[in-house]
Structures are given as C-alpha cells and as structure tokens.
Symmetry: C2
Subunit: 234 residues, 2 copies
C-alpha cells in the first residue's frame, strides 16, 4: 500500500525541450487565448519549465515572436510558378497567404508590427520577384511592383483580422452595434448603403475577419491590384 512508484512530475519523461516545441506552444497560446495572453512565464508553465529555459531556446520575447512569424511564413504553400501566368500566380499566392494566416488571426492582425529580415521572408520575396520578372516588368519597375504586391497581400490580411479588444464582453459588442447604427443616420452615403456595409466594411465592423470574413472584398482587392499592375506595366 505504500507508494513505491513515484508519480512523474511531467506527463512525458521529457527529452530536452526544442526550439520548435517552444514556438508551437507559443502559437497555440495565441490561437486559444489571444495575443495578449502570451507571456514568457505562461509559456514556461505550459511547457513545465522555468521561464529562463525559454530564454535559452528562443532568446527574448521579441525574438520568439519573430520565430513565430517565420514559422507561419514557412507553412505557406505557394503555387508552382511554371504552370501559371504571373497574374494568376499572384492571385493564387495571395489566397494561400490569407488561408494560412486565417488560421492564426491574432497573429495575422499583428503581422504589420513585424519588420524582420528572415530566411523565409527572403524566399517569399525571391519567388514573387521571379514571377514578376518573367511577367515582363522592367528593372526599374520590379521593386515597385514587388512592394505593391507584398503590401497589398499582407496589409490586407493585417486589416481583415485586426482584433477587437480581448476583454470585449457581449454587452460592449451590442453597444457598438447600436452606436454604429445610430451614428450613421448623420452620414448619408453610409446610411444609404447600410445593409451592404454594416459589419462588412472597415471602420464599420464590430467583429474581426475571424468571425466576419471579408472574402469577396479580398478577392476584389487582389484583382484590382493585378489589373492595375497590368495597366501600369512598361
């Protein structure tokens, strides 16, 4: 009856923590509890280690976030450049990026704040530049076109998945809905198109893209970008 078998302190008799485990756990926390819920201490607890163990594997919090975004970039499945025309390739790629980041809306919403030179970012750039170059953009236009494509895709996603404050209770949400509905009676154009705008247009939404996707607008926006590029290509 005496306890001969000591209870294991951890569910798995763990082998050393890996950087990958740390990154995955961080993504998991953001996805389930929100961006603001990610803390080095909470992450350590989740992994049954002391906080300083995290620092050993992933540097500090800023570097950890950089690694997280690298991971997401790596998971994006870009289409084959050989089988598509440049404009079709861009449209397909844009959808692929949106699909991947749509799985992690709280991270997508903060993509903007990340300016980091990463290997996965460089490979994405190489791909886009190659396709545009083959598409016939001149040497002077190439950087301009590339920046346009990048900003159009990632800028859109940042905006679409921008998150409501985490502490927004149901009460607050219904208040917002009411507030918008009332304010716009003073704004004739909005009011006239209220049915097609409410909760479906920027500044007029009370839910993020996670709950109220803007798929039609996204596709229109990407087509606008591609058609504009065609027209300005020299």
């Amino acid at each position: 009856m005496s306890s001969t078998i000591p209870a294991p302190e951890r569910n798995t008799p763990r082998q050393p923590l890996s950087r990958r485990e740390v990154i995955d756990a961080a993504i998991g926390i953001v996805d389930t509890q929100g961006f603001d819920a990610l803390s080095m201490r909470g992450l350590a607890q989740e992994l049954n280690v002391y906080p300083s163990a995290i620092y050993w594997h992933a540097g500090n919090k800023a570097q950890l976030l950089s690694l997280v975004y690298q991971r997401l970039m790596e998971d994006i499945q870009l289409p084959d450049p050989e089988t598509l025309s440049w404009d079709e390739w861009i449209l397909t790629s844009a959808s692929a990026v949106r699909t991947e980041f749509g799985k992690h809306p709280d991270l997508a919403a903060r993509w903007g704040s990340q300016l980091q030179v990463t290997s996965s970012g460089l490979e994405f750039a190489e791909q886009v530049l190659k396709v545009l170059s083959r598409g016939g953009f001149s040497d002077v236009q190439l950087p301009l076109a590339y920046n346009t494509v990048s900003a159009a895709i990632f800028g859109w996603i940042t905006a679409e998945f921008a998150t409501e404050p985490a502490d927004a209770e149901e009460e607050w949400r219904t208040y917002l809905e009411k507030h918008v509905s009332e304010s716009i009676t003073q704004l004739p154009t909005i009011n006239q198109h209220r049915n097609s705008l409410l909760n479906q247009a920027f500044s007029l939404r009370w839910e993020s893209g996670q709950k109220a996707p803007l798929k039609a607008s996204f596709e229109f926006s990407m087509r606008v970008m591609v058609e504009g590029l065609k027209r300005l290509k020299v």
Copy 2:
C-alpha cells in the same frame, strides 16, 4: 533663513487633468521613446499624477490606445471632394494619410491591430464612400471598392513603418545587413536586382520607413490601386 515659501510639487499649479492632455502625453511618449515604452504608470509619472488618475480620464490602456488612434484620424486633412475627380481625390487622400501617420511611425506600424468603430473612422468612411459613389461605382461594387481603398492605404502604411525591434543595437543592424547580403547570393532574382532592392523592399529592409521611406513605391502602389479600380468599375 527658514523656508517660508513651500516649493510647489508641480511646475504648474495645475488645473484638473483633461482627457486631451492624457492622449497628447501618450502620443509624445510613443514618439520619443517607442511604442513599448508606453505604460500607464510612466504616463502617470509624466503627468505628475497617480496611475489611477489616468484610468479616470481614459479608461484602461486599450481604450487609451483607441483614443490615440482617433486623435490621429482627426488630424488628417482630407482634400475637398468638389474640386477633384474621384481618382485624384483618392491619391491625394492617401498621401495625406501617409503624411500624418509618418509623424508617428511607431503608431502607424501598429495601426493594423486596431479594430474599433470610432466617429473619426466613420467620417473617413463616409468621405471615401461619397467620392466613390459619385465616381460611378455601382451599389454592389461600392463596399468592395471602399474596402480596397481603405486596406491599400492603411495596410501600406502599417507595412512601411513596421518597426525594427526597439533594442536593436548598431551591432545587430550591421549583422542584418551582412546576413541579407550573403543570403541573397543563393537567390538569383534578388541578387540580380540587389542594388534597387536592398533596404528598399519589404523583407529586404533592416530599417523602417521612418529612416528609409518608400515614397516611390507608395505612389506606385496607390496608382496601381486607382488604375485597377478604373478597369474593374462597372
């Protein structure tokens, strides 16, 4: 010799704090010390009050940030819709937004994370919608075109001013520069156009738009958007 005049604890024999003062001080801290340096406690100290005084005027930190972004939106000087064609109005407005947010790059970089229905946001939307409507966009296209314009402008700015990590020392910067320069030797298209891409294209920059503006790309990007809209307008 005895001190008869008590030293004032504050430089001004202050009248009550105003919400506006709090917001202005918050913007000041972000502009001078960076986004991460903004804390409710630091802000309180700057204003010579206890932290709880801030809460009285501006709610919590999330609400304070919302107020900050409202303030920036209000400061944007949009052109007169009567004197310009719809496409010129959009190009001029886009530049106005970029100019205003360029004064506060650390806030611009985090614009994306803000999803809040605000009165200044609604007014911006009304203006854009009015111009597009007069421009001849159909009822079904109006929300799509509006979302496209909004995301193109604000998404771009978020990306352009995305900030490097605050703790980036000079050493780190030169390391990045070297790292990029070396990595791209394996990436033929990037390598071929390295002179026009390095520090001037997304994912290939080691400085934010504050230090290395992307003005030419911004203007090209906005023209692409406008030309695309013209082409898809029905």
